[in-house]
């Protein structure tokens, strides 16, 4: 009988390093994912290297040269204060990406925790938590963000906070719905069966498995966070001037849309590129994040 217990050889043993490289290769072979990642890395590079890349200071006004059309000195022209659009776009990448990242980080952290606890605990805890969440969810998110910024004054931190608070209930709702699909999965019961405590099950098994779909949702909401900041800027409640953000470049350019369309158009394009990259990344992650979901390589590009 021991013959049947003989070690099996189905897949050849792969050294760890090569396995990692193989996995990485799989991610990078996903065209959407790699394109999205590439664009985001590029944008992050631009954001980080802004002081060296930008030809002018982002807040340097040159009132002798307002609303200049593109020229050698001002590649994309200047705005109504004579500030160089290109430099503002480059510096704006910092704030806009920071907003996006911070919103994602905050709403992901709190949203996942709330959603996971509610979803995993079940019972009255879930009901009360989700009741509260539903209440927040029923608020028009943008209005909620507006009210919060109005309440706390407009600053980068408050914009981030407000948009995060507006998004957290969404993440929480998604998280919970994912968690309640994970909760009945046998490996959760199996973990309890080996004597694991609930908190440990939550942290070790529920959260790691629930995160991928939630991360995908949040990459998309990162895009909306950038737009929300733009909307707040438009209503005069965005990040404090003269800080450059793509949002306030758009709203600054709003008034000059006929004479100097490049101002708002270029910022809009920056947002669009980022949003598209984030979406590609999100979809790509969805396709490749689960190790067992190899079947979609490349075929679902968008």
């Amino acid at each position: 009988m021991s013959a049947e217990l003989a070690p099996e050889t189905t897949a050849e043993a792969v050294p760890r390093g090569r396995a990692v490289r193989r996995a990485l290769g799989r991610y990078l072979r996903h065209p959407g994912l790699s394109l999205g990642l590439f664009v985001l890395v590029l944008l992050s590079f631009v954001a980080i290297a802004a002081p060296w890349l930008a030809p002018h200071g982002p807040t340097e006004a040159d009132l002798m040269n307002t609303l200049a059309h593109p020229s050698g000195d001002y590649v994309l022209g200047t705005d109504q204060y004579g500030r160089d659009i290109l430099s503002r776009l480059i510096w704006g990448a910092r704030i806009s990406l920071e907003v996006a990242l911070a919103v994602v980080a905050l709403s992901l952290t709190f949203g996942s925790l709330i959603g996971a606890i509610a979803g995993y605990a079940g019972g009255w805890l879930e009901r009360t938590m989700m009741m509260g969440n539903d209440i927040l969810l029923a608020f028009p998110g943008f209005l909620l963000a507006l009210a919060l910024v109005a309440a706390r004054g407009s600053s980068l931190e408050n914009v981030i906070l407000a948009v995060s608070i507006a998004y957290t209930p969404r993440v929480a709702a998604v998280m919970r719905s994912v968690v309640i699909t994970i909760r009945p999965r046998p490996f959760i019961e199996a973990s309890r069966a080996i004597g694991m405590s609930s908190s440990r099950v939550l942290l070790r098994h529920v959260l790691p498995n629930a995160l991928p779909p939630v991360i995908v949702v949040t990459t998309v909401s990162a895009a909306t966070a950038i737009l929300a900041e733009a909307g707040l800027s438009f209503l005069g409640l965005g990040v404090q001037p003269p800080t450059a953000t793509w949002g306030n470049i758009i709203s600054d350019g709003q008034g000059f849309i006929t004479s100097n369309p490049l101002i708002s158009l270029s910022a809009g394009l920056c947002i669009a590129i980022t949003v598209i990259a984030l979406n590609l990344l999100g979809d790509g992650l969805r396709d490749t994040l689960d190790p067992q979901m190899r079947r979609y390589t490349g075929e679902r590009m968008l």
Partner: protein
């Protein structure tokens, strides 16, 4: 015919004792009259509800003879001296919590000896009293009967006056409509009605004007839109220097702004010429002092601070304040929150670190009320009454409450003597002395004199622009 006028934001309170904001004031000016009024073009004071008036010898009593047969709208009866007494006393009554009680501060009492005679008695002579009684804010006369019957609070959006138009309907967020008062004592207006459409975005408003969706574009500010409309067919753009400047107020109680060298450095450091030319594209006029050229008292003989970065740096160095941080605080309204941007950039260039703080109006008022904010940007919008900006900005009694956020305290005596001076020429001289002194001390730096723009389609005839921030449709007719 119905005139459609763009206003930039919604109305909310048309009660003369509490009214605030140019949209409200514009609508109210169609509904109400004052005892006297400014000539729209020349700012001379003319009779309105009062046919004539006289001043007592000592200058402490003003007697007004009312026009006979003036009727309030909506059947609230004839205007009597009692209504005038009621309106003015209402502003003075602390229970009303009028924001204009201060304007009538020196009034000891209002008497109504007979239905058509009103006497305003002052504590001390005040040569500027007539300015306070013109048809604006506290000067508007309401009906005692109407306010009492409608209710003190509800009256805010159900105004009853004697003006050329009768308040008709307010659709929140959308529009306000007034209809012609056929029985207006000055003769029925040629228009049947005026609709004030709320259109926030200036570009959209400009297109609406070009498309013929509106007739008058009121409160036109944005330089590119002005430019666009100037080029548009069938559109006339009008402009006029306003009664106010937009100022940077420097709080002398906050270090290092207590140092006059620092304040002067700031004045030299900001390129106001470029601000007007570059940012406003010449749509504003230079502000030499807080009194604009629309005032008879206007003068340019005051200390000037042409842009001079080197001098600014030198002054800072002298004061030992290179690299201090200046917080520019402003309310989140255009253009205040915009013009600070090039200012900050200029100041950075002379070595002043600047931080811009834009506050939403409620928070701004609260911050300014505390009196410890470093700077603010403000303009005193009002009638061409020199007291209005000078007292508001420089008198110690004007804080708290009030606008003297710089906490300037060296003009009180001059302002008091101007008030007491009955001779207009001498008074003007005193005011000019105030201007010189304050421009030397620069607690307040006028950035520019505001210029009011308005555009209308060629169908609109007879529109006259005043230097107040309002529009008046009474004289207007529409050509089909």
């Amino acid at each position: 015919a119905e005139l459609r006028v763009r206003i930039g934001s919604d109305v909310g309170n048309l009660d003369p004792a509490r009214i605030f904001g140019i949209e409200n004031q514009t609508v109210a000016s169609h509904v109400y009259n004052g005892l006297v009024k400014y000539d729209q073009a020349t700012n001379k004071i003319l009779p309105d509800l009062a046919e004539s008036w006289s001043v007592s010898e000592d200058g402490t009593a003003y007697t007004f003879k009312l026009r006979d047969g003036v009727m309030f709208h909506k059947g609230y009866g004839q205007l009597t001296s009692d209504d005038v007494k009621f309106s003015l006393e209402r502003v003075l009554n602390p229970d009303t919590k009028s924001r204009y009680a201060g304007q009538l501060a020196g009034v000891k009492g209002v008497e109504a000896p007979d239905p058509l005679t009103v006497r305003v008695v002052l504590e001390a002579p005040n040569a500027g009293l007539l300015n306070k009684l013109t048809d604006f804010n506290q000067g508007w006369i309401a009906s005692r009967k109407a306010v009492t019957e409608i209710g003190d609070k509800q009256y805010a959006m159900q105004p009853v006056g004697t003006g050329p138009f009768v308040f008709d309907k307010w659709s929140p967020g959308n529009q306000v409509r007034v209809v012609a008062n056929k029985d207006y004592f000055g003769g029925a207006p040629s228009l049947d009605a005026v609709t004030f459409r709320i259109i926030k975005d200036e570009t959209a408003a400009a297109i609406a004007l070009e498309n013929g969706e509106i007739d008058v574009f009121f409160a036109l500010q944005s330089p590119p839109v002005i430019d666009r409309l100037k080029k548009a067919d069938g559109v006339t753009v009008m402009n006029r220097v306003a009664n106010h400047t937009i100022n940077l107020v420097l709080n002398q109680t906050v270090k290092p702004l207590d140092d006059i060298r620092v304040r002067k450095a700031i004045a030299y450091g900001i390129n106001r010429e470029a601000l007007i030319a570059g940012y406003f594209k010449g749509t504003k006029a230079p502000g030499h002092s807080v009194i604009t050229s629309s005032f008879p008292e206007y003068t340019e003989e005051v200390p000037q601070y042409a842009h001079d970065p080197e001098k600014a740096k030198a002054l800072l160095k002298e004061a030992g304040q290179e690299g201090f941080e200046l917080e520019l605080i402003t309310v989140g309204l255009s253009p205040y929150n915009e013009l600070v941007i090039p200012m900050a950039s200029d100041l950075e260039k002379v070595g002043i670190k600047t931080k811009i703080t834009v506050l939403e109006r409620g928070a701004y008022l609260q911050a300014r009320g505390k009196g410890d904010i470093m700077t603010c940007i403000t303009g005193i919008v009002g009638p061409p009454d020199p007291d209005s900006p000078l007292v508001s900005l420089y008198a110690t009694k004007s804080f708290p409450p009030g606008m003297n956020t710089s906490r300037y305290d060296k003009a009180d005596d001059l302002l008091a003597s101007a008030s007491a001076e009955q001779d207009p020429a001498k008074r003007t001289a005193i005011y000019q002395q105030v201007m010189s002194q304050t421009m030397e001390d620069v607690p307040v730096l006028p950035l520019y004199a505001d210029q009011l723009f308005m555009a209308h389609s060629s169908k609109v005839k007879g529109l006259v622009q005043n230097s107040l921030f309002t529009v008046q449709a009474y004289t207007v007719s529409l050509e089909e």
